[in-house]
Symmetry: C4
Subunit: 250 residues, 4 copies
Amino acid sequence: MSADPSLDATNVTAAPGVPDQALLEDLVAANRILFNQGVLDAYGHISARDPGNPAYYWITRAMAPAQVTAADIIACDLDNRPVRPGEKRLFFERVIHGEIFKARPDVMAVLHSHSPSLIPFCNSDTRLRPMVGSAAFLGEGAPVFDIRTVDDGGDLNICTPVQGKGLAQALGQHCLVLLRGHGAVAVGSTIRQVVRRAIIAESNAKQQLQATLLGPVHFLTMSEIEYAKRQKPKDPDRAWRLWKQQAMGG
Amino acid sequence: MSADPSLDATNVTAAPGVPDQALLEDLVAANRILFNQGVLDAYGHISARDPGNPAYYWITRAMAPAQVTAADIIACDLDNRPVRPGEKRLFFERVIHGEIFKARPDVMAVLHSHSPSLIPFCNSDTRLRPMVGSAAFLGEGAPVFDIRTVDDGGDLNICTPVQGKGLAQALGQHCLVLLRGHGAVAVGSTIRQVVRRAIIAESNAKQQLQATLLGPVHFLTMSEIEYAKRQKPKDPDRAWRLWKQQAMGG
Amino acid sequence: MSADPSLDATNVTAAPGVPDQALLEDLVAANRILFNQGVLDAYGHISARDPGNPAYYWITRAMAPAQVTAADIIACDLDNRPVRPGEKRLFFERVIHGEIFKARPDVMAVLHSHSPSLIPFCNSDTRLRPMVGSAAFLGEGAPVFDIRTVDDGGDLNICTPVQGKGLAQALGQHCLVLLRGHGAVAVGSTIRQVVRRAIIAESNAKQQLQATLLGPVHFLTMSEIEYAKRQKPKDPDRAWRLWKQQAMGG
Amino acid sequence: MSADPSLDATNVTAAPGVPDQALLEDLVAANRILFNQGVLDAYGHISARDPGNPAYYWITRAMAPAQVTAADIIACDLDNRPVRPGEKRLFFERVIHGEIFKARPDVMAVLHSHSPSLIPFCNSDTRLRPMVGSAAFLGEGAPVFDIRTVDDGGDLNICTPVQGKGLAQALGQHCLVLLRGHGAVAVGSTIRQVVRRAIIAESNAKQQLQATLLGPVHFLTMSEIEYAKRQKPKDPDRAWRLWKQQAMGG
């Protein structure tokens, strides 16, 4: 018997059709890139909502992101039940994905990481704020989710729907939420955007940490944040292609 | 129709003759070296003024510096219009190059980067100052250009001639100018000198950040800065050759 | 004549039987992984108690962890005498292993390292404390052993039984003890758990150092520490397999 | 005509005999190791006094340490004149070597580096002090040579005998001296010892910088420094062999 009751669910409803090959390819590349760039280590996971069937999302089985192939990607419904019965190797924190996809219809991809330079900001009252235009998605500062607001039992992991809903609420309309004593969740409208945000958040954190050594830090102004949000990034696929080449060769 | 009106310009005047092969080779190597040394990532660009025709400069098409070859290098006039009509893949911030080449006849090469350790100094009142003789080109501290002095719309990028002229004015007679919330621009009399300055600025920034942990920092004195500026660097090509070998093999 | 009197010991008692192949394989992998992850350099050593004969432990001859093979692993008794007479290439600090195995019957593996990011905490009154759930084994802060409490001669190394016993006493029931001016010792119930703890301690130290730049640091609460200690880590072998692949290929 | 008058010297006296092959091999390895470990970049140099003829030392021609082979090593007298007339590619700061070999008959090897983590200590009133036993050679703190004490012209480089003698005087009986706004010089009784000291000084500097974030730093005590100086390092060649393998393969 599984310790995870959702694994025994059999009332799976309409499953997504044939998976989108481009999406699966990007999901594999995202796992490899995020490992190669130091955002993920042996843990963490990224998912993509099915473009044709928004009640489902794609994610790998529980495994190290560095070792992912297309064959490792499975579909789950928004209650985080695998479409194919009998799947056992599931991320125990996949509730993060389902609850955020429910709360944020605009979100098409979700990443949970332990991005190393974000941890100091998870455990501080100092907010992670944008140092440069490409980090404007951080807005006036990334919110921090304290799991004690929904569950004071001592658990730091997001394993239950209540914990997942609490996290989604803390995320609100932001693009990134930090988890006290734990890590981060980034969201976006595409896999590539989420990957981009995660990599920029990590480098922004390093630069903000360094900047505190120099005295008061001048972050982007509100009008700069708003301006940057209105603009599409210039040629974002240029970075994606480079990161993919670095992570996967070719 | 292009979103960038300069692309439709047809009144291109006398173009540079056959490109200087040694210059193109150095420009390719500069792109590869600056990526390999961590000054550039997927973005940023370096240009060289045409030695025979100072009203033109050479730069790559919009692409990742790590992937540049000689075939990717094109010529632009100082209004940043490509010599060959129909070129579409152009850096949208190439106005930086044209405006600086106009304002500084002595400058033969220009680099725009998001050099990671310089960002903290872009967003601080603490000046980047020389820790060692090879960084004497930083003088009494690198100036910081705040784009709000010319354009308070919220844009951080240098896309218009007015923004480019403002940046060139902030650069003045310096060798490096920092851009608040954005990055840096380095200039020099050769491609190799600009590459050298960019790599030294990045390491100097790291060392200055560390030094602040130890108490008051003793920077070079004015007489040391002046002395170092008067001296030619000893065997600068030694570093160039090593960097090129590291970046390109052979 | 050896400078180390224990080498001349001949009263070796019942030796362990045929070594456990899986244990030896893990011990080799542990050495390679700890080097690859930057916990060990040319020095440091990890041992495993013999599962069938708890009065003996396995450890490599004195050598660089990066170069270890199964043929380099020997057995010692808890007085740190090699089972096979005539062994000369022994770690002079192996007393650490014997004394901790004596004092802690629950401990099955012991690591001594100079893990670089732990050194600052060895020489400070600020305690190394858990930033994230996986570091809960640090409890309310890792103890620091000051060798002057047992030996004020000026030696920083743990070479004598008295020094080893003092260290074991400072360790107490903790999982990690820091050694002032020297390094760290981690213990656990398996080789893999000790490796995991050592790698997490190193990254936790980096993150705690960074967090101090942001103001007061919010560490795990007591209930979070207790909760995490009660839970088994989720899929710890996932990290082990990845680390092993990174260190040894295949 | 050379800009360096010493190059025209013709009164070279008794030259060293056939070079010691083991010494040359160690000198090549030292150059490669120090580059691989990040102590040297394209600049810096290490020399070894001739064991049979202490009025001469061996050093490479002016070149990047990463590219050194045995054929690049030449002999100089203690006035820094090459034994073989006509040698032109000489380090312009080689006066450092001759003056220290003159002042310190016990010294058999000299290294000049711009070791990156030492630079902050060159420009601070905070002394570089030993964090761990292997760094005890730093004593109560490395001295800092300020070139203005011998030459207030603004030059930071050590090019003249007066500057070299001033540096040797600041070194005194220490093992390492820092040069304000410049770098460091390490000395020892063998090439391997100097390499070891240079690598340890770099890591000690990083750890001391980090430790300042945690509050007052507890350095080695005087009795610990004295004890460590009296002891021979345990198996120092273990690190040398590992470093050599990392730098040169095999």
